[in-house]
């Protein structure tokens, strides 16, 4: 701690901070641009100037930049000093000499840090009378707009994109008053984390193109606290809606998870919810019917069934899955994962829930000092984890900071000290990954061999973990190196998951983590999962999907209820066709049209995550509530969609569950493992000062006119019985209390702070945890003594003619929902088959290949791979045109 004196008042602060951080932590506002909690101090913009005094007798003082000055004990500064104030206003005046003042037509307007800072410095008129410097803009692809004339040259974009996110294709060019931030030439930004530029940029240079197409001011959108469903990390997001459409997604700060940053799939993949061809009305045999008619038909079908089975969904809420299980009974409730994948999810669940090493938070990942990634391309399967791993590697700079007596916030100095050094990250995977550039060493091998490497590492760490016989020299040497590095680390981390499709890989990862845990308390483990609510579904203990298909094929059951699931993504087509052919009544509850809804007799249109409330359980076992952003029926009374759990409650018919809280409580009571979900967020009775919390900013405009084309009478706003949020600007809007429950924070705003920088006002200390606590409730306690897994697989042996099919995970194009969004489709590459170079010639493929796989012939363009193991081919999992890839699938390849 240190004592500092600001404008005559004495404060206790953390002496390791710089003065800007320290003052912001105290709630004292100093304007700034180039500083960012995640990017540190660089002293470029000169906006955060304050007057610094030698001691209390010094009346002269001198101007210093608060971001570059340590908050050391006995510091005397003034923020209010006239000279400092004048200088800060002058800095904005300088920036304005070239800024176009195009706020009325700028998409940043209304959530612009530059606007906020301009107001804060009170700069209002400039004496500059000459022409402005202008730039040409670039096409940066489907996600990001570019308007360089607005640039104030804070360098945040390149510092984020290159230094923080590891991107290589955004740079700074030119010099003097002609500094340009862009690419060498037009083209889509390559980083999977490019969207954060829209929030990192303090003005309107980098804007969200998906938002441009349906632009609305920040203050004119309705928001909810929501959860991204793009993977199992469960990043917190703030989707904005107007006129019944989601118009953008912004980051919603979470101190343990996403922090300030999202991935592009999560940010730009929301378009599926706006699609015109989504089922928005109930259907019976393809004909639109009223909801109650469809419910009655479903109930009749179930009542008349020989037996009704249900298939749940890893992308639907806990409540929806639980309601489904209640409808058909636990014995008839089946996994919505593919059969093999479901088993992997249950294995992962047992490892992190019952084992001694609980899942690491994203913040903990960032603090790891040695990492092994085993079998996973996390940039695709859990992207936010990949961004965190980059920070772990860079973290060595923090250690050097102490050694060289350089402050931790001196970002550039740390990078200079670090040069190309980093904390060790090892990547063992079936193919090249997007993290290979930070890998100290890499191994590419078939899943069996990855597992063998993992078991060998675990054995090196603890002889009680089983040994691996006949390990090849390369793997044996690597195992020794990795074991030595991990054992020497203070905060080692193992990252694995279901992506390799191999139980042995995850078991090996668990053995390593458990062996390390015995030596090192701060051992971390991350297991990635297939979908946003994989754990929420697995905790309901569903029967395997294969059992459902078998029971249907045999005729044992003749009615099937499918929840938010396209079964063609979950099972081989032949098996599925055989089973569904025997189904008399197929009832599907989903929000998106699919091959499964096309086959259904009854379709009940479900709410997407943006249109309904529910709870999801992420990879850590954190239950998080997502809240409905808007009521679709407000704009179009014919829209008949609602949450899946509510449809199921209607079909169930007993009116047991009226509001979400009933549903959540029932589930929590019935399933002890899910008991914590009631605490995932405050319930519907929660009030602040007797008020519900407004989803709309208090400046929301145009409400009385927005439905005037239907009726000039403004209807009553939709009422939300399920939650403590209101569909309105009426209610509590955050001006009074900065420490309200963060689960109920729909968007970032604080008085004077309209940009995403407002999050800094809602944190205990800038860049740290939220004042109201980080959202969600951890369900897993963990802690049992491990019993090592002992099934070490045999090494992979390439067979003569047939190739082992490996599922390749890509950031864009493989995820079911985001791939329906136009900008994601534009960014995704077409499906392909990757063939190892060593095998390429013998396949006879030439640019194109025919892949024969489980009786299906696929015509695909080829990619020659330098990295896939010999005897395998890679297919992009989940892509259009790629069939369901079962475990251990073999294929033959011939010329195109």
């Amino acid at each position: 701690m240190a004592t500092i004196h600001v404008d005559g008042k004495q404060y206790e602060v953390d002496g390791a901070d710089n003065l800007l951080q320290a003052c912001l932590n105290l709630g004292l506002d100093i304007p700034y641009f180039c500083w960012h909690p995640a990017l540190g101090s660089v002293g470029a913009c000169r906006q955060c100037a304050v007057k610094s005094y030698r001691d209390e007798t010094d009346k002269m003082g001198r101007i210093v930049m608060s971001c570059m000055t340590p908050a050391s004990n006995g510091t005397y500064i003034s923020i209010a000093d006239d000279e400092a104030k004048d200088f800060r206003a002058s800095v904005v005046e300088f920036l304005m000499t070239n800024h176009p003042h195009d706020c009325p037509v700028c998409e940043e307007g209304g959530h612009c840090h530059l606007q906020d800072m301009t107001v804060m410095t009170a700069h209002h008129s400039r004496s500059y009378r000459f022409d402005k410097r202008t730039h040409l803009n670039q096409d940066l692809g489907p996600f990001i707009g570019h308007e360089m004339n607005r640039c104030i040259s804070c360098y945040r974009c390149v510092r984020y994109y290159k230094d923080y996110a590891g991107g290589t294709d955004l740079g700074v060019y030119g010099a003097a008053a002609n500094v340009y931030f862009g690419r060498v030439e037009d083209g889509a930004l390559e980083s999977e984390f490019s969207g954060n530029l829209t929030e990192v940029c303090p003005t309107g240079v980098f804007t969200d193109k998906t938002h441009s197409e349906r632009y609305t001011r920040k203050w004119d959108m309705q928001y909810s606290p929501s959860i991204c469903t793009g993977c199992a990390v469960g990043c917190n997001v703030s989707p904005g809606e107007r006129y019944g459409e989601i118009r953008r997604i912004e980051n919603r700060y979470h101190g343990d998870l996403n922090g300030y940053f999202l991935c592009d799939r999560g940010r730009f993949g929301y378009g599926y919810t706006n699609l015109k061809d989504r089922p928005r009305q109930a259907l019976i045999n393809g004909q639109t019917v009223a909801g109650d008619v469809a419910v009655a038909a479903a109930r009749t079908a179930i009542n008349g069934a020989r037996k009704t089975l249900a298939i749940g969904s890893p992308r639907a809420s806990v409540e929806a899955n639980y309601a489904l299980r209640e409808l058909v009974g636990a014995a008839n409730f089946h996994d919505g994962h593919a059969t093999g994948e479901g088993a992997l999810v249950k294995l992962a669940l047992s490892i992190v829930r019952e084992g001694p090493v609980r899942a690491a938070t994203i913040t903990e990942i960032e603090n790891a000092d040695a990492v092994l990634v085993l079998g996973e391309d996390v940039t695709a399967t859990a992207p936010r984890v990949a961004l965190a791993l980059r920070q772990a590697a860079r973290g060595k700079g923090q250690a050097l900071a102490a050694e060289k007596k350089v402050a931790e916030w001196q970002t550039i100095a740390l990078a200079d000290l670090l040069q190309r050094d980093s904390y060790p990250v090892f990547v063992a995977s079936v193919d090249a990954t997007r993290l290979d550039d930070i890998a100290r060493d890499k191994l590419r091998a078939a899943p069996e061999d990855l597992a063998r490497l993992g078991f060998a590492i675990a054995h090196e760490l603890d002889g009680a973990s089983p040994a691996v016989g006949d390990l090849d020299h390369r793997s044996a040497a690597l195992a020794r190196t990795v074991a030595e590095v991990l054992a020497g680390a203070k905060r080692p981390l193992i990252v694995s998951g279901t992506g390799a499709g191999s139980a042995a890989v995850m078991q090996a990862a668990a053995n390593i983590a458990w062996a390390l845990k015995a030596k090192t308390a701060d051992t971390g483990l991350v297991l990635t999962l297939p979908e946003a609510n994989s754990y929420g579904l697995a905790l309901l203990d569903p029967q395997p999907l294969a059992a459902a298909l078998a029971a249907l094929s045999s005729g044992e059951a003749d009615t099937l209820v499918v929840l938010e699931n396209d079964l063609e993504r979950r099972a081989p087509k032949a098996l599925l066709d055989a089973a569904l052919a025997k189904v008399k009544n197929l009832i599907v509850i989903d929000h998106s049209a699919s091959a499964t809804t096309a086959r259904a007799q009854v379709v009940l249109p479900a709410a997407t995550v943006f249109e309904g409330d529910g709870t999801l359980v992420n990879y850590e076992g954190r239950a998080q509530r997502h809240f409905q952003v808007f009521d679709p029926g407000y704009y179009d009374a014919s829209i008949g969609l609602t949450e899946s759990w509510r449809w199921l409650a209607s079909v169930d018919g007993e009116s047991r569950w009226k509001i979400l809280d009933d549903m959540t409580a029932a589930c929590a009571q019935a399933v002890p493992a899910l008991a914590g979900i009631v605490d995932a967020a405050p319930n519907a009775a929660f009030r602040i000062d007797g008020m519900k919390i407004a989803r709309e900013p208090h400046r929301y405009s145009g409400r009385t006119a927005m439905r005037a084309n239907q009726s000039v009478h403004e209807p009553r706003q939709p009422q939300d019985a399920d939650t403590a949020l209101s569909f309105s600007m009426e209610g509590y809007n955050g001006t009074g209390s900065l420490d309200r429950p963060t689960e109920l924070l729909p968007y970032a705003w604080a008085p004077g702070w309209n940009s995403p920088s407002a999050w800094n006002k809602l944190q205990q200390e800038v860049g740290g945890n939220l004042r109201g606590g980080n959202p969600g409730k951890l369900l897993f306690a963990g802690g049992a003594t491990p019993r090592y897994f002992s099934d070490v697989p045999a090494a992979f042996v390439a067979s003569g003619d047939a190739f082992r099919v490996l599922a390749l995970h890509l950031h864009f194009g493989g995820d079911e929902l985001s791939s329906r969004a136009e900008p994601i489709r534009e960014r995704a590459i077409p499906a392909f088959v990757a063939i190892p170079r060593v095998d390429f010639a013998k396949t006879g493929a030439n640019g194109h290949a025919t892949v024969a796989i489980a009786g299906t012939l696929l015509q695909l363009p080829t990619r020659i791979s330098e990295t896939l193991p010999a005897g395998t081919i890679g297919l992009p999992a989940g892509f259009a045109g790629i069939p369901f890839l079962a475990d251990g699938l073999m294929a033959t390849v011939s010329g195109g």
Partner: protein
């Protein structure tokens, strides 16, 4: 005077021969590399450092920081790891052309200085960061380095000392800011030439994150003679004209009769430099003002000519000695044009990192252009004065903009009438302002 005697009086330029610089053989025959041999055989690095410290040699790049003190901040000892010596030979200061003379005229003295200084700080590698346009210097330095390497004066186990060290020429790509030592280091590493924040100072974390010393060419040229002749000899070179020791390269440019570079005792008066060595002003021109040592120093007046040209005396007069090469302004030159020319240079050479420098300098240029063209506003003088404060020390990331403000603020102080003459009586109304801007007349092409 023999070369031997000459070297005791003019240690920097005695060997300079632009037509045919000494090669290794003739350099050694005339006492070259004796300082290196003496240092490696008889002196520890600490001994070399203390000699230089005792001499109180002050950095000749313009800041005047004692070279020995700078070296003393470098971590020494067996665990110190890789360290670098960098010679700042990116001579781009307007009106300054002294280092070029030394490197082209006596390349082996540069090489010897690089080795001895490298030894003093325990460096593993030396780099001569050379202005790209100095192609003759590059050629001659590279030749000298090759000769030294072939003779075992560079490379492994130099002269049996067990010390390994090599030295390379790195030619710059033409940015003034590379003269700023941390920007130079970034450029040497292949990055943008933006200055770095200090602390950490380069002596702790410089090139590639390692301890690094950056010294000016002229400073380094003094090292071998100091090692041979000692600190007291060096102090005596100023002949009592200054409390600083040594000789200094002085020079004159502008409308003087004999422009050039002259090695004189430090503390020689500006009048002696201009009138005795520079031959005074050309016929028909009177001295109006002079810059003591480069574009980033404050103007002084004819009445200041009798001041001793050393760091402290010139600082007391409100300017800086800088590089010590005088730029004279004559009575036929308009001060507004002179300053506009200087500020245009500074605006163009800003690295673009910090706001006041990047956006403030072009603004000053545009106002100066307006005044130059007689289209200035009555407010412009006050605005320019405001800029000199807003771009002053502590406001900007490095010394570039504060340096740029020195000629502007002193010209406004001494020659205000010339600026006022550029104010248009009709352009002062606010609505005229926009008309003017829209004509494009004032669209100064800066970057």
């Amino acid at each position: 005077m023999s070369l031997e005697q000459d070297l005791l009086v003019k240690p920097l330029t005695a060997r300079v021969n632009l037509a045919a610089p000494q090669d290794l053989r003739t350099y050694e025959a005339s006492g070259g590399y004796l300082a290196l041999r003496k240092a490696l055989k008889e002196l520890s690095p600490a001994d070399v450092q203390s000699r230089v410290k005792d001499s109180n040699l002050r950095g000749r790049g313009g800041a005047g920081f004692p070279t020995g003190v700078k070296w003393g901040l470098v971590p020494m000892g067996p665990d110190a790891g890789a360290k670098y010596l960098v010679c700042n030979a990116d001579e781009m200061e307007p009106g300054t052309f002294k280092d070029r003379l030394l490197m082209e005229g006596a390349p082996h003295q540069m090489v010897e200085a690089m080795i001895v200084a490298g030894y003093a700080i325990g460096a593993c590698t030396g780099y001569i960061f050379l202005r790209g346009e100095y192609v003759v210097a590059a050629e001659r330095l590279n030749k000298a380095l090759a000769e030294a390497r072939a003779a075992g004066l560079l490379g492994q186990n130099i002269l049996g000392s067990g010390w390994n060290y090599d030295c390379f020429v790195h030619t710059g790509a033409g940015r003034y800011i590379c003269g700023e030592e941390t920007a130079l280091i970034n450029s040497l590493e292949g990055r943008r030439a933006n200055p770095r924040a200090k602390p950490p100072f380069p002596q702790i974390a410089g090139a590639w994150g390692r301890p690094t010393v950056v010294n000016n060419v002229e400073s380094l040229f003094n090292i071998p003679p100091i090692v041979i002749n000692g600190a007291d000899w060096f102090k005596g070179l100023s002949q009592g004209k200054s409390k600083d020791g040594g000789t200094k390269l002085y020079g004159v440019s502008g409308r003087a009769r004999r422009t050039g570079v002259y090695e004189l005792p430090i503390g020689t008066s500006a009048r002696e430099i201009l009138e005795d060595h520079g031959g005074g002003m050309k016929d028909g021109y009177r001295l109006k003002a002079w810059l003591p040592g480069g574009a980033s120093t404050d103007f002084l007046l004819p009445e200041h000519l009798d001041l001793a040209m050393d760091f402290d005396t010139i600082a007391k007069a409100g300017s800086r000695m800088g590089t010590g090469l005088l730029t004279v302004v004559d009575d036929k030159q308009n001060m507004v044009s002179v300053v506009r020319n200087l500020e245009e240079f500074f605006a163009r050479e800003s690295c673009g990192w910090c706001t006041p420098c990047r956006d403030g300098l072009p603004w000053s240029v545009k106002m100066l252009m307006a005044l130059e063209q007689g289209r200035g506003h009555a407010d412009d003088l006050a605005e320019l004065e405001r800029l000199t404060r807003l771009l002053g020390p502590g406001r900007t990331f490095c010394a570039h903009a504060p340096g740029a403000m020195e000629p502007l603020q002193s010209a406004l102080k001494f020659f205000r009438a010339e600026f006022e003459a550029g104010v248009s009586p009709t352009a002062a109304k606010a609505d005229d302002v926009h008309d003017l801007a829209q004509t494009g007349v004032l669209d100064a092409k800066v970057a």
